[in-house]
């Protein structure tokens, strides 16, 4: 049991506000839903839309079909009417555009006119929200409170918007009673939160105390979240002059003693890779979040792709250990980014965290997280236990040298060096020390490998097909498996959150038992499948690839699997 809504309009028409009101209100009612965003790289005009899927059981991804179309402009109708079911309804403002004669699904509501009556035509979006609320047959009580919170202190604005809301509600309610049956709501309030907010909150709650970045879509939301917390929570959020500065600042802060992070997208990350290599050489903990968007170069700034995996795995000159984790679901990402901080500190190495626009901009209703599951182990050497003289790069069996913060131990200094160096951190050139230091650093590869979580298994572990995926596609692949199951095709999803060092055990287990193997990726070359081949020799039968900047739909995956699994 579910309802799907598609809301479209031009940039600048207040779609953000619409979605915020709806999402907040639905979450407070305890509804399980997911809301995704498709927007252009411009501030006004063009065509943007959001998909909202409310379901009785947790919806794992949006679907391409809609029950209700909220068309703030003609384009929304033109582009999306085909996605609307026969019993669907189209909420639109007849003053803006008219529907074709033969269109029987229209439900005209004069958004602007009603808004004008309420005080100001710019409140048309509140009218629309009210109208939609009526179609969903929800109680109007929740909404005014949210408007009050949003405009706190601006009494007139609040009054006007509430009036607009009510007008929209009344107009639509009168026209469509019991049109749509809403799935049952849960019992408690849920959070309404998007991927970037999840990551920002995870960083904050992991004790990140320094964040430097240069704005770049779709990563900027992380910075915005953290900036909003900086004063109250005592963390420094610095907008750097460029990404090179951002990563070097973050490294300085980490050396200086705090957990630190930077976040960017592919282009900005390109500028950071020299700094990444520095993190590797100096053994400075660092978390770099890369929110992928389609490249090369500027590409499609507001859209999604998983095209930077290969790059991130090998980025930076020279050889040094790193871990690469990724964002799958909101809950998992919250704890996994914490893991990134833990790994960075424990192994004194850079950890890359791969997100993408699809994850960053997807909102969900969610139970609050259990913060007591978060770790904050700095793994610093105890001043008292430190062997003197202190040596930042002292050889130890496991390759992990005792890490001291500068200034903490009188008489002892902490020297880190970008050149090859000896235990003290001083420049060297001899072959023996070089070899020893390379070996010391590279030992971490095995240690990190032991920390990697095996991929999640959804399904029986065997069947007609094995579907592989990684990162933000988890939800859609899971829905695809369900869809296929309903169509009688049984198979298993093996989905990776930790990507590097590649966890291989389950792969080794399941691959041989599988019928056809598939790897679904939002890129054009099948990077993850190639990584598996490089690391294990296992060859995926079919790559399912999408690289048009849009996320997969379950149907697309299912269709591909069906096409090949049978043969």
């Amino acid at each position: 049991m579910e309802v799907n809504v598609l809301i479209g309009g031009a940039a600048g028409q207040g779609m953000e506000t619409v979605m915020h009101m709806l999402g907040k209100a639905l979450a407070r009612e305890g509804y399980l839903f997911i809301a995704t965003k498709d927007y252009m790289s411009r501030v006004r005009g063009g065509h943007n839309f959001s998909r909202l899927r409310i379901a009785a059981e947790r919806p794992w991804s949006p679907v391409d079909t809609a029950d209700i179309l909220v068309a703030m402009n003609a384009e929304t109708y033109r582009l999306h009417e085909k996605n609307l079911g026969r019993d669907g309804r189209i909420l639109f403002d007849p003053a803006r555009f008219s529907l074709p004669e033969e269109e029987g699904r229209g439900l005209p509501v004069p958004f602007e006119e009603l808004a004008r009556e309420a005080g100001d035509p710019i409140m048309a979006n509140s009218v629309a929200v009210g109208a939609l609320w009526a179609l969903l047959d929800l109680n109007l009580d929740r909404l005014p409170g949210i408007i009050e919170e949003s405009f706190r202190g601006k009494e007139e604005v609040i009054r006007g918007n509430i009036a607009a809301l009510e007008k929209g509600y009344r107009e639509a309610a009168s026209r469509c009673e019991n049109c749509f049956a809403m799935p049952p709501a849960g019992t408690g309030k849920l959070m309404y939160i998007d991927g970037n907010q999840v990551l920002g909150m995870a960083a904050l709650a992991s004790g990140c105390r320094f964040f430097a970045a240069y704005p770049m879509t779709p990563a900027t939301g992380i910075m915005t979240y953290l900036a909003g917390k900086s004063t109250a929570h005592g963390l420094v959020v610095e907008q750097a002059e460029d990404e090179i500065a951002a990563i070097n600042m973050a490294l300085g802060a980490s050396y200086g003693g705090v957990r630190s992070m930077t976040a960017t997208s592919g282009g900005g990350f390109s500028l950071m890779v020299e700094g990444l290599s520095l993190a590797g050489m100096t053994e400075t903990p660092l978390v770099v979040t890369v929110a992928m968007r389609p490249g090369p170069a500027t590409g499609l700034p507001t859209r999604t792709e998983q095209g930077d995996l290969d790059f991130v795995l090998k980025a930076g000159h020279g050889e040094f250990p790193r871990a690469v984790l990724s964002a799958t679901t909101h809950e998992d990402a919250f704890f996994r980014l914490n893991k990134a901080f833990e790994l960075a500190d424990r192994y004194q190495a850079p950890v890359l965290f791969l997100s993408d626009q699809n994850f960053a901009d997807t909102h969900r209703s969610l139970e609050p997280f259990d913060f007591s599951r978060l770790g904050h182990n700095r793994c610093l050497a105890e001043a008292a236990d430190v062997e003197k003289p202190y040596k930042r790069y002292r050889y130890r069996e496991d390759g992990i040298s005792p890490r001291l913060l500068p200034g903490t131990l009188p008489g002892e200094v902490v020297l880190v060096d970008s050149d090859e160096h000896d235990e003290r951190g001083n420049i060297i050139e001899d072959a023996k020390t070089r070899r020893a230091m390379m070996d010391k650093r590279l030992k971490k590869d095995a240690l990190l490998a032991a920390e990697m979580d095996e991929p999640g298994v959804y399904g029986p572990g065997e069947g007609d097909y094995l579907l592989l995926g990684w990162g933000s596609t988890y939800g859609v692949l899971r829905e695809a498996v369900d869809l296929l199951g309903r169509e009688g095709l049984k198979g298993t999803l093996l989905h990776f959150s930790d990507l590097w060092p590649l966890p291989k055990t389950r792969l080794g287990d399941l691959f041989p038992r599988a019928g056809k193997t598939f790897c679904a990726e939002n890129n054009a070359t099948g990077q993850f499948a190639a990584l598996i081949r490089r690391e294990t020799g296992l060859q995926v039968d079919h790559n399912i690839l999408k690289y048009d900047g849009r996320p997969f739909f379950p149907e697309e995956i299912a269709a591909e699997v069906k096409k090949h699994a049978a043969t």
Binding site: A27, R28, L190, M191, I193, Q197, M201, L204, A205, R209, F210, A212, K229, S230, T231, H233, G234, L235, V236, E238, I244, A245, A246, N248, M249, L251, G252, A253, S254, Y255, G256, G257, V258, S260, E274, G275, L278, T282, N338, P368, F369, F371, S372, L374, H376, L405, P406, G407, T408, P410, G411, V413, V414, L415, V416, D417, S418, D419, N426, I427
Partner: protein
């Protein structure tokens, strides 16, 4: 009591006669006279001959990437405001590769002393022109001589709003040491551009060339921006040395709310205590 020798460590890989030796000595004296214990000092640098300093001065050290000393230093400041921070760098490091960080960190005004060993050449990479090389200087890569006019770091710093701007010469040891002390104790970003000879690659601006031209500016009002700019722009037959400008303005540390309390480094933290940050999403 620490003596200057206590700050000397390692065996400098510089050429005999290089101006860097005098700069290192002055730095060791300045640190000793300021009674700054090595473990409370961080020397942060990029890459170049000058930037090898963290290996030769007993202190904490962050020897980072070519051109990137300043951003790393800013991060260090944010993490621990209790440490004394010195950035040691060359003219290529600071004004070439690192040019963008130079101008933007002046705006931020973090509390650090920036010592640029300005030998008007790329020393470590064997003699290419730097942003401060004289027009006409012929090198292996500037075979027709340098075509662009040199960058004037002090005038640039002044226009960007630096609160402390000074020029020194490695041959004026006492003045150098005193200026270093003033820069280290200045509250905010303090630039000291230190002229010094590269005996191996700069055959134009030799020790004698500098010696013949430099003079100590006296009777100069370091609170007057206009005269500071004038002094900074004087270059040629006569090159003034001195603290051209010294007027504190609000620092990065004083402006960022998160830095008003104890240093961020080493603060205890328990993630579970933060659970309430979720409330805004409910």
């Amino acid at each position: 009591m620490l003596r200057p020798e206590d700050y000397l460590t390692g065996e400098p890989a510089w050429c005999p006669g290089c101006g860097n030796f005098a700069i290192r000595k002055a730095l060791s004296q300045a640190l000793a006279e300021l009674s700054l214990p090595p473990h409370r000092v961080v020397v942060c640098s990029g890459i170049g001959q000058a930037a090898k300093m963290p290996h030769y001065i007993q202190s904490n050290g962050f020897n980072g990437l070519h051109g990137r000393a300043l951003p790393a230093a800013l991060g260090i400041r944010a993490a621990n405001t209790d440490l004394t921070l010195i950035v040691e760098s060359g003219d290529g490091d600071s004004y070439g590769e690192g040019g963008n960080h130079f101008i933007h960190n002046i705006r931020r005004n973090p509390n650090l002393a920036h010592f640029v060993h300005n030998n008007q050449v790329y020393g470590l990479t064997k003699g290419q022109a730097s942003p401060t090389s004289q027009m006409g200087m012929v090198t292996g890569t500037q075979t027709e001589g340098v075509l662009a006019p040199p960058l004037n770091p002090l005038a640039l710093a002044l226009v960007m709003g630096a609160g402390f701007v000074a020029r020194c010469f490695s041959g004026e040891a006492e003045h150098l040491k005193e200026t270093m002390k003033a820069a280290i104790t200045f509250p905010g970003y303090a630039l000291v551009d230190i002229l010094h000879p590269c005996v191996s690659f700069n055959k134009v601006n030799t020790f004698k060339w500098y010696r013949d031209r430099v003079f100590l500016l006296d009777d100069h009002d370091a609170s007057n921006w206009q005269s500071a700019l004038e002094a900074a722009r004087q270059w040629g037959e006569r090159i003034p040395l001195g603290i051209f400008y010294r007027v504190p303005r609000p620092t990065f540390e004083s402006a960022v709310p998160a830095l008003q309390g104890k240093p961020l480094a080493g603060q205890p933290f328990n993630p579970a205590s933060l659970s309430r940050v979720q409330e805004e999403f409910l």
